[in-house]
Symmetry: C2
Subunit: 333 residues, 2 copies
């Protein structure tokens, strides 16, 4: 494991100083692979430790490497905990080959190729569903991608983000989650948060329902407009923010009383979450189309969901207050 830490102080270094401090030689992307993988693994470790401490239950670890060694998954799963229904975290490191279809799916259309092209990805994902419907679900995903012939990256980029999906709206929770992410973004570029916040609202759009999946957060992709070392530091800090941005909300809400009716509402919202993931979520479409293990790709779906024909919420209700911000995203930080 690398022990390099990525703290805000690296920001005071120039690109070449950064490269030297981080042991980088030659073109950035090749060494970036190892560093990205380390960031993803270290973040997964910290996150799972913090979640296990809060819950009291422990994670099952499932590591899998393909026979050819080109794909490895590290699945960390906490199921049926005291606080959480599921905490599902995965680190994937893949040396694969894009088809024109999977390249489009993985990049949201920005990588257009006519013939197969090798790619590399190191990614971290986290999806959390809690027992108490007053606790929002949370999702984070960070990844480094490169692609090119003969193991020489012709293109590299970072992507990722984190977002919050409440069943009931507590404005202070949404504001806290956004503020923490804004702080990380602002350290790197004041234009990042406004851009990535809007991108998140656009991305998590259940188009056929005219609703967002949740109250958003940040989302970015194809990010390669500055030194890869700087972007590694940015992604590392984003991933580290999951704990302070989300766990205080969990602690505050996990012992609240709730009714059967509120649990039913949560399951209806879970149905919308599933509609989004199976129809629009790029990771799911890419994961399944590129031959990923279905159990892994779909492991983050909410465990119970409902569909009711023409379900409506009562005007002025807590449910209606949530729907209002899902239909019309608000500024939170």
């Amino acid at each position: 494991m690398m022990t390099t830490t990525y703290s805000p102080s690296t920001l005071s270094l120039s690109a070449s100083e950064l490269a030297s401090a981080l042991g980088q030689v030659g073109h950035a992307p090749v060494s970036t692979r190892a560093k990205a993988e380390t960031i993803m693994r270290e973040a997964q470790h910290s996150i799972c430790k913090a979640f296990a401490d809060l819950d009291g239950a422990s994670f099952a670890e499932d590591m899998w490497t393909s026979p050819d060694g080109n794909t490895s998954y590290t699945d960390m799963e906490l199921r049926n905990g005291n606080v959480f229904q599921t905490v599902s975290s995965n680190v994937a490191v893949i040396n694969g080959v894009f088809s024109p279809d999977t390249a489009r799916a993985a990049t949201g259309g920005s990588l257009q190729i006519d013939s197969p092209m090798p790619f590399y990805v190191a990614s971290l994902s986290l999806v959390v569903h809690a027992r108490n419907p007053m606790v929002p679900s949370a999702h984070a995903n960070y990844r480094y991608f490169d692609s090119g012939q003969d193991d020489v990256p012709e293109r590299w980029w970072f992507g990722g983000g984190a977002d919050l999906t409440p069943n009931y709206l507590f404005e202070e929770d949404a504001a806290h989650f956004h503020r923490l992410h804004r702080e990380v973004c602002d350290r790197f570029d004041l234009a990042y948060y406004p851009r990535f916040k809007n991108w998140c609202d656009e991305y998590f759009h259940i188009v056929h329902r005219g609703e967002r999946r949740g109250v958003g957060g940040i989302f970015f992709d194809n990010l390669s407009d500055r030194d890869p070392e700087l972007l590694l530091a940015f992604v590392a800090q984003c991933a580290a923010s999951v704990i302070p941005a989300y766990l205080p909300i969990v602690r505050k809400r996990c012992s609240m009383d709730f009714t059967e009716e509120q649990e039913r509402w949560r399951q209806l919202r879970a149905g919308r979450y599933i509609e989004f993931n199976l129809m629009y979520e790029r990771g799911t479409v890419f994961g399944l189309k590129s031959g990923g293990r279905a159990a892994s790709v779909l492991r983050a779906l909410p465990p119970r969901a409902r569909w009711e024909y023409q379900h409506t919420v009562q005007a002025g209700s807590d449910e209606a207050r949530l729907m209002e911000v899902l239909r019309h995203p608000r500024e939170w930080a």
Copy 2:
């Protein structure tokens, strides 16, 4: 309403005699529209009557016509009945415009166009989920499509099918459902059933799971290789077969005892049903992409579903016996 009946005796007529008997003038497709719509409406009426008689609960009818008059839906919904969780039937009559994307989605890739093209469709759909997990879910969908500029159909075709989705395998039920559909097919063409049975197994394939959604039935699309009147008769008889093919199974299974564990298994299977519909089902993709009402397009999803990470079935169990036929489709008739 037209009163023409479509019985096997029409088979003894030649194409021109058929056309004359059915009052057809000029090119088939224009008059075919009205006949197809009548078939769909009459079948919906008979089916809903038979289901309401069996259940004891009644259907809510919801008719909707777009302001321009180009789209009409007749939704018939029986919810929370005595026997059925949901019986959802829809007749849609649409004068729309294909984009290159929706044309591909609606025809499984066989209609490739570069610019927008008007289309007409009259379709009937039926989805049934029962209370008792020993009762299989059932689905049927029949449609007439045509497309071409200036309201002159350059192309027309029929599509449809019916299939059975059990949670527990009763071989005699699968055999009965297939036999009834084989009988209709055989009246028209001995090659139909084998072809449409295999097509059904191919279509209802949850590719990322390596499972079929159920034990199949028949499925066909782009069917235009003979006189449209003959195909109207075929589709009318297929739609009429839903009642004798499915309701005897419902009657036989709807009072069986079942355990909580078996209900849980049903909800896990419902999760797979939802994966199929949101990711692969052409009607859903087409319906949502062409701006169909989400509540209508998605009304047929099972009302409750579960996902469990790496759920496994015990060797030799009833659940394993079902999985075996979902993984390796069998001949039933």
